[in-house]
């Protein structure tokens, strides 16, 4: 990719900044060739060129991050921090603002482990595989919680509110104690870490006075250079409860049953109720099933379900902990489902001492890192891509069914194959809708943008907001949070300007624009 400059910066100015960056990190870790720039593009994006960076700089330590940030202020160069850059479906390594310099933290891979308390203090470059390997190698009695694409960063995923499959799957809530380089280059620690040498930095979340940790999540207020992550003690037993829902309308009662289990604490993990395409898109390609345009018709859906032995929806619940407790809970859960369905309920059991060799589809429930779900981007053939639209709904079956109907109709209207799931939170549902596409099919690509915007408009009309979005749509989604004339966005930007007067850190992230670039808002 040829050089793209950020607004208001000349090539000579950028060049001077890069020379200064090299003085901090070494010439080898300033990456500014055409090929280097390409390696930070969003591989799965609808349009890669819209978010092209001008260069990247890869520090190794928090001190180097501080120096680079100070220099970026001096040269007025916008930085886009990434942990490992694997935020696929949300932008990968690419910046919102074209021409930003990627601050690549993937070389920062230190792990400190507090085995007594079950806390890993990780730097941004530590991937889920790295942490898993570390735990195995040191025979530590803890399990990781991993997302469907575990190639990425433990810290980066938690900072974007990514999720996993175990009871520790709400990753952002497992963060405890951060070290942050502020946009001026100053270093701070949150919570108890504000007390020098505190032994409870990574054990007690709030500290004294206001607690700022979520301020650094999905924001552009600082570069988190390390943070504590709580890990689940290796359970005595894991118990699986799986069932298939035959009819599309079964979603309603199933959501109500699980919502109650989440509310009263019977179920501590967040199960996802997924539609029939989930497995098929990973294991097969579309042309094996159907060779015509338009959404897959019902007879093809039936054929897919028959081959994989799945329902319209599939549910997997997991219990972790003491065997006797799990058994008791499972008994109650099973009875609650049996009030609504005669479908067989599959119970699986594992306990400490038994070999752990889960089938691929089960690995993530045991906290074993995986990447295979990403194969779904190859569903259409050609260069695959995907984006997700994920509004948050109230946790009730009526809301879920209405949202499903509306969304399914939109998929059919735009000729796209439905790929939806409903992840059950404690009081809410995250309705993840994946849009799979083929970048080599211009006709299909012509539909994707309008389709995505229709999904946002539909959900916004119902006053449902998205929990996380792709860099291309951050302004669109931020605009939907509109109470009192976008009061929240105004506050976000007052804070932004106070902390980052030169507007150098991740302009446009989550729709937050610093004064310098505010005219860039889409």
């Amino acid at each position: 990719m040829k050089l793209t400059l950020p607004p208001g910066l000349s090539a000579a100015q950028l060049d001077r900044a890069l020379k200064d960056f090299a003085g901090v990190v070494g010439q080898e870790w300033v990456l500014a060739t055409d090929l280097d720039r390409d390696t930070y593009l969003d591989h799965f994006a609808v349009d890669e060129s819209g978010h092209a960076p001008s260069a990247a700089v890869a520090p190794l330590t928090a001190e180097q991050v501080q120096e680079v940030v100070r220099l970026a202020n001096r040269h007025k160069v916008p930085l886009w921090p990434i942990s490992r850059g694997k935020n696929f479906g949300y932008g990968g390594a690419a910046p919102v603002l074209k021409g930003s310099v990627v601050l690549d933290l993937s070389r920062m891979k230190k792990i400190e482990f507090d085995a007594e308390n079950g806390v890993a203090v990780v730097e941004p470059g530590v991937g889920f595989y790295d942490l898993y390997d570390y735990i195995q190698q040191n025979k530590l009695p803890y399990w990781t919680s991993v997302p469907g694409n575990s190639w990425g960063s433990v810290l980066g995923n938690a900072l974007d509110r990514g999720v996993g499959y175990t009871t520790y799957g709400e990753h952002t809530s497992k963060l405890c104690g951060m070290e942050v380089v502020l946009p001026t280059g100053e270093l701070m620690r949150t919570g108890m870490g504000a007390m020098t040498g505190s032994p409870t930095w990574n054990l007690y979340r709030y500290g004294f006075g206001p607690s700022w940790e979520q301020m650094f999540v999905q924001s552009n207020y600082g570069v988190v250079t390390k943070a504590g992550v709580w890990l689940m003690p290796a359970p005595e037993s894991m118990l699986g409860i799986d069932l298939e829902l035959e009819n599309v309308d079964d979603l309603g009662w199933a959501v109500d049953v699980i919502a109650a289990q989440r509310r009263d604490g019977l179920l501590q993990q967040s199960p996802s109720i997924g539609s029939w395409l989930r497995g098929a898109a990973v294991l097969t390609t579309r042309k094996e099933w159907y060779d015509k345009p338009g959404a897959l018709p019902d007879d093809v859906i039936t054929a897919i379900r028959q081959r994989f032995g799945i329902g319209w929806w599939s549910i997997s619940l997991r219990l972790y902990g003491y065997e006797s407790v799990n058994e008791a809970q499972a008994g109650v859960i099973q009875k609650q489902f049996e009030k609504h369905t005669t479908q067989p309920i599959r119970i699986t059991r594992w306990k400490q001492g038994e070999p752990m060799n889960p089938a691929p589809g089960q690995a993530a429930f045991a906290g074993i890192p995986i990447t295979f779900p990403l194969a779904n981007a190859a569903w259409h053939g050609g260069r695959g891509g995907h984006i997700g639209y994920s509004p948050v709904l109230p946790a009730n079956g009526r809301a879920a069914m209405e949202q499903f109907r509306r969304t399914y109709d939109r998929y059919k209207e735009f000729g796209m194959d439905y790929h939806g799931s409903f992840a059950m939170g404690e009081r809410s549902i995250t309705n993840v809708n994946q849009v799979l596409f083929n970048k080599d099919d211009p006709e299909m690509m012509g539909r994707v943008e309008a389709f995505f915007r229709a999904l946002v408009a539909d959900a916004t009309e119902k006053r449902y907001g998205e929990y996380r979005t792709h860099i291309e749509y951050m302004d669109l989604v931020a605009a939907s949070y509109d109470f009192n004339g976008h009061a929240l966005r105004r506050v976000n930007e007052v804070v932004k300007d106070a902390l980052d007067p030169n507007g150098i850190l991740a302009p446009g992230k989550s729709g937050i624009w610093p004064k310098r670039y505010r005219s860039q808002r889409a």
């Binding site: 080898e28 870790w29 990456l31 090929l35 280097d36 390409d38 390696t39 930070y40 593009l41 591989h43 799965f44 990247a56 890869a58 490992r84 850059g85 694997k86 696929f88 990968g92 390594a93 690549d104 993937s106 070389r107 891979k109 991937g127 595989y129 898993y132 390997d133 195995q136 190698q137 575990s150 190639w151 990973v282 294991l283 097969t284 390609t285 752990m356 060799n357 889960p358 691929p360 690995a363 045991a366 074993i368 890192p369 995986i370 990447t371 295979f372 779900p373 990403l374 194969a375 981007a377 190859a378 050609g382 260069r383 695959g384």
Partner: protein
């Protein structure tokens, strides 16, 4: 555990150490362990149940079943190019994640000496 064999752990550690050494001292490519680096940098998608194994194994008439290490038709140039430019479902990998000397070692390992 599936990924829990000791051999793998040791080689991951070795790869990390050798990677750091290479990064720090500009060590020559031939001193790096291509196999260990392949495991550490590429194994998540190209070994066991990885994303790429699944996709590549769908190809007809390929006896490797999607495992790059079993293939005999890879050239070093192809490996180096694909890692930096991406291909199909595979995203590009920047140099801080796989340095040029590391990539050369991985390419040498997978190509079994073919340039």
């Amino acid at each position: 555990m599936t990924r829990g064999n000791i051999l793998r752990k040791l080689s991951v550690l070795a790869a990390l150490l050798s990677g750091l050494a290479a990064a720090g001292q500009g060590q020559a490519a031939e001193a790096l362990d291509g196999k260990a680096l392949f495991q550490a940098r590429c194994g998540m998608c190209h070994q066991t149940i990885g994303m790429a194994v699944g996709i590549l194994s769908r190809r007809p008439n390929d006896p490797s079943k999607g495992f790059l290490e079993e293939r005999t038709d890879l050239s070093a140039t192809l490996v180096r190019t694909v890692v930096r430019t991406g291909i199909a479902n595979m995203p590009r990998m920047p140099r801080p994640e796989v340095s040029d000397p590391e990539l050369a070692a991985i390419a040498g390992y997978l190509s079994k000496g073919k340039p």
